[in-house]
């Protein structure tokens, strides 16, 4: 430590000190030689000759004090960079491989982090269940009307987590085994107009029960409630925390501000909690969350997401959902002449 301090002190004024010391040396030597009988010019020349190279003395003295290993290391770095610059193709290959490798590792870890290590920032996330239906034998016909995720389950039957609005409404009114039922759907492209500017962002539609059932509290203003589901109310939206910061600088004046969402005038009534980014796909971060009221209504399939007893009780939910789906399908049938009786034997299953 003391040595480090010495070195710093030397690097601050060592060079200047040494220069003065060498000058003094030469002058004293010259004056002595002069006293011994040399002419001033000859004395000075002899002094210089005896001293040898002042630069060498300075360099050698420097080395004693300064961070020689660090300087050598810097030289190595410079040399390496020069070599890399000389072989641009090799450098490119190396850099790209490193970037891909690091990128893949980071992506894999952030996915694992989101899925496994970080539960949804809502109250009691372990109580949430996601409903999906599984088609009967001829369910492929039904699939035509599905928006959103649609896949095959293990038995080769069509399955999806998208439900019609009427199925959702019916289930919400008649179910009793869940403490709350919510629905949400992504709006992949949302044209946002603020004053003279417009840009494309993302959003989601949610049922009015959404925020209450998830137990979320607003960062500012208010969140949506079941009253926002009604068609005759003013269209309102909740903005994400990130959107609040970037569009309004986190200002309270954002509450009550009017924006155009897909050309519909909407009033912002509140800000979502900072940690919450909805429960759509991993990585999605909807900026605006709209209710279904006020003419903003969704075109299609919100996803019902139940809150209630853990999967062990799923049989009850299942029965209720079956009834709702059956009722829905019977309602729909007259408008879809091609859909035969008994077609959509939908039986939503509960996924933990």
């Amino acid at each position: 430590m003391r040595r480090l301090f010495d070195r710093i002190r030397w690097s601050l004024r060592g060079d200047r000190d040494l220069d003065e010391e060498i000058r003094a040396h030469l002058e004293i030597e010259a004056s002595q030689l002069e006293a011994e009988g040399l002419t001033p010019a000859a004395a000075w020349a002899a002094a210089r000759r005896r001293f040898g190279s002042p630069t060498l003395a300075r360099e050698n003295s420097r080395e004693v004090w300064t961070f020689a290993p660090l300087e050598t290391w810097l030289q190595d770095v410079r040399f390496a960079l020069r070599l890399l610059a000389r072989g641009p193709l090799f450098t490119l290959t190396a850099v790209v491989s490193l970037a891909l490798g690091i990128g893949a590792a980071v992506a894999a870890f952030s996915l694992l982090d989101t899925v496994l290590l970080r539960p949804l920032p809502v109250t009691d996330p372990q109580q949430l269940v996601l409903l999906r239906w599984v088609s009967g034998a001829r369910g492929d016909l039904l699939a035509e009307s599905i928006n959103g995720w649609l896949g095959l389950d293990g038995d080769g039957q069509r399955t999806s987590t998208s439900f019609s609005c009427s199925a959702y409404k019916d289930l919400a009114e008649h179910q009793s085994s869940l403490t709350g039922l919510i629905a949400f759907a992504e709006i992949p492209d949302l044209l946002v107009g603020t004053g003279a500017e417009a840009d494309v962002s993302t959003g989601q539609y949610v049922s009015g029960s959404y925020f209450q059932a998830l137990g979320l509290r607003p960062a500012a203003g208010r969140l949506l409630d079941p009253a926002d589901d009604r068609r005759d109310v003013q269209a309102v939206a909740v903005i994400s925390y990130a959107g609040w910061r970037s569009r309004f600088g986190g200002s309270p004046s954002a509450i009550g501000a009017r924006v155009l969402l897909n050309r519909v005038p909407v009033t912002i009534v509140g800000v979502m909690p900072r940690a919450f980014r909805g429960c759509l796909q991993i990585g999605s971060d909807p900026e605006f969350t709209n209710g279904r009221g006020g003419g903003l209504g969704p075109g299609h399939g919100p996803r019902p997401d139940g809150r209630g007893e853990p999967p062990g009780e799923s049989r009850v939910v299942r029965g209720e959902a079956d009834r709702s789906l059956d009722a829905d399908c019977w309602n729909v049938r007259p408008r879809r002449p091609g859909a035969g009786r008994g077609l959509p034997a939908g039986a939503p299953r509960i996924e933990g």
Binding site: H25, G52, N60
Partner: protein, 116 residues
């Protein structure tokens, strides 16, 4: 004495000579070089390119300390002074040196050692 006739200092001996010179009291670089040259009968020429690094090295080991002072002709010069640790080091190097000279002497003059 011409430069060719002068002896080259053995590695490491310069440090000892500097410490020895400073036993007489504080001195600046030029005086140290002059003293070694004159006392050796002009046989040793201290390379100044190695004198100053040696002075830095000795300071770093805390065997000598430096401070600015005025020279005989009122020139500002840096004076080096022996520390107690430097004094101990000098004693050590001195005895090492004598053992070295004796050992080399035995090899170079075997006959001289045979005498009782």
């Amino acid at each position: 004495m011409s430069d060719e006739e002068r002896l080259t200092l053995l590695q490491g001996t310069l440090d000892m000579l500097i410490l020895r010179t400073l036993r007489w009291g504080p001195a600046h670089g030029q005086a140290i070089a002059r003293f070694i040259q004159d006392t050796s009968g002009d046989a040793l020429l201290v390379e100044h390119g190695s004198l100053y690094p040696a002075l830095q090295r000795l300071q770093q080991k805390r065997w000598i300390v430096a401070e600015w002072g005025a020279s005989d002709n009122n020139r500002r010069a840096k004076y080096y002074r022996l520390t107690p640790a430097g004094r101990r080091q000098l004693a050590r190097e001195h005895s090492n040196w004598e053992r070295l000279v004796e050992a080399i002497g035995r090899i170079m003059h075997p006959a001289a050692q045979d005498k009782p």
